[in-house]
Symmetry: C2
Subunit: 361 residues, 2 copies
């Protein structure tokens, strides 16, 4: 079988070495005689897996003891509700920055129970940029500010973050760019991320939470929706998605052995650069996203016509490049090039783009 490059937006490609390693010990983990998937979540073997995964993430992002690191279920979509339930009291308001479909969903869930101030929005420009920080209209009384650091559908990404205070910290949905670049975790009250782009398979959500937020949690929340429950139990209140957490352990081991965050960031810069340079080189390809707001994870671009886009995607598929269709709400082409997409995959796509341009321009 020839190589397939999987450019899906998520779940997406995982590192080849990680997949091979998981396959090789799939029936017999660490000579237990059974799979890690079949091990009790209360066993020393699984405790070691979850401890290693947490330790890797703490090491990669230099996370201090002021923060808890949790592995939860329910995806970012469950966090959209848990955040206001835990941290936004009655009569209080929070700032939300609207930069695409996912931030809209976060806003909608917060609005169900609480007051929301949309402090900045790029909706009028069809989400083709991240609003400049100096144009935001924060509510001085807001108790946190929520952003979506990378927007998979529109191909935009925050390249700088607003300065926030302890009283009104920054909370970021980093589902599509967690562990893809250096980050000062101390600038955030909370970071959360569904695993299925840069961390592992679908079904587990990483939460990095400053413990000074815990004082805000009201009494009597449903146990599973109360961050305290998961902190007190080390993410083992009930049966966690053990295999997904094991995959995060393997993936973060892989990042560490490939140069850590510095190494992965350099690689991601290079990969995105190859595509954006080609797109900007003339008028055949075009990127709708403003310079300065472009995502290094999801490179969205257009061709001169929708017919050519359809042909491009079909022809790429025949050559083993799958998942390139843009989201149905925006059309065009989208190449999702998360950590695990190898440079060769990006070069293969770039070569194909050049050939296609020659044929059709």
């Amino acid at each position: 079988m020839s190589t397939v490059y999987n450019f899906n937006a998520g779940p997406s490609t995982l590192p080849k070495e990680v997949m091979e390693s998981a396959q090789s010990e799939f029936l017999n983990y660490n000579n237990l005689g059974y799979s890690i998937m079949e091990a009790s979540h209360r066993s020393p073997e699984f405790q070691n897996v979850i401890d290693t995964a947490e330790g890797n993430i703490r090491k990669l992002l230099t996370i201090s003891d002021n923060y808890s690191v949790l592995f939860l279920q329910g995806g970012a979509s469950t966090q959209f509700s848990m955040i206001p339930m835990n941290f936004l009291g009655e009569g209080q308001s929070a700032d939300y920055v609207q930069t695409g479909a996912w931030s809209e969903k976060a806003i909608k869930e917060a609005q169900r129970c609480r007051s929301v101030n949309i402090s900045a929005s790029s909706k009028e420009s069809n989400y083709t940029c991240i609003p400049e920080l100096d144009t935001w209209n924060p509510n001085p009384d807001s108790v946190y500010t929520h952003i979506t650091s990378n927007n998979t559908i529109f191909g935009t990404q925050f390249h700088q973050f607003p300065a926030c205070s302890n009283d009104a910290p920054l909370i970021a949905d980093m589902s599509s760019d967690i562990l893809s670049r250096k980050l000062n975790v101390n600038d955030f009250g909370m970071i959360y991320a569904g695993a299925q782009k840069n961390l592992g398979p679908g079904g587990v959500t990483l939460v990095i939470l400053n413990k000074n937020l815990l004082a805000r949690i009201p009494e009597n929340l449903p146990s599973m929706l109360d961050y305290n429950t998961h902190i007190k139990s080390g993410s083992l209140y009930n049966t966690p998605p053990t295999f997904a957490i094991y995959m995060i352990m393997l993936t973060t081991n892989w990042i560490i052995s490939n140069g850590g965050i510095d190494g992965i960031e350099q690689l991601n810069d290079k990969k995105a650069g190859v595509l954006y340079d080609l797109i900007d080189s003339d008028d055949f390809f075009s990127c709708p996203v403003k310079q300065g707001s472009r995502s290094k994870m999801n490179v969205c671009f257009r061709l001169p016509s929708e017919n050519l886009e359809t042909e491009f995607i079909k022809s790429a598929g025949e050559k083993g490049m799958v998942g390139l269709k843009g989201h149905r709400s925006v059309g065009g082409v989208r190449a999702s090039i998360y950590n695990a997409m190898p440079t060769e995959g990006v070069r293969f796509l770039a070569d194909f783009m050049s050939e296609f341009k020659k044929l059709h321009s």
Copy 2:
């Protein structure tokens, strides 16, 4: 490596054929060139997986179109809150039957927001039985009755279910005995089950829900906690635990090709019979659970002394039988013999028990 038999209470052993099959296509599912774990949840390949899993479960339990079949996240523990949030209105009350640690948790979560009538309890007998149906004290105004069909910790199981009405249906947590025996789904308003005992790995929860309950769901619940969200989206509102659902597909394929529910029930009867017959044959082993309430999934038993129990568990472990320690709250020995535990594993344990008895009586 010699065979290991894994008697853990969950996550626990999965069918050998299922594990081998998942391993063999781990890197390349259906000639896609990548893993099903790396496929988009919006892809036709994954749609086929989730449709097959649902179809298998519908077929195995003869589930009519009046019921939705969902794959959710968060475990039974999240259902403990979702059930009262969705189905128990303000000023209403529900009956809960208290038969162990899990039903206690379900009761606690319902009590956070609503009124609960404990209509029957075996707490005073240390949960060593299921309360006889004719001793229950139902509240005639209750809008549903909640039970835990099998209690992993105490080794008890419902062998008959109360007759309930459409207005006040029966809701059952079947996390530890789903798909282990024949069942008339029409007798239930809702059945739910964490997957990690009889269905697949941890991280996915099966919900079988009578659509006539949907009229009760209040407005403005958090999207992820509203059953309507998941019904409308076919369990694909956000990224589901795709690999765990794939494992459910394989496991239910395996049940179908091994005689379906009839076949699996016969096997489970036989397996449990081997152990209980041995336990009851004289006074060396004893089962604290009342006849008629004994679980065919979790066989709990005692030895003449705690020292002998410790030695039994240690010695069994050396022979490749792991996970036999009783839950810390009850002590003793527990053999969890879910669907995937082969008859040979049970016979191997029974032979060891006989030998151990000879040595020590």
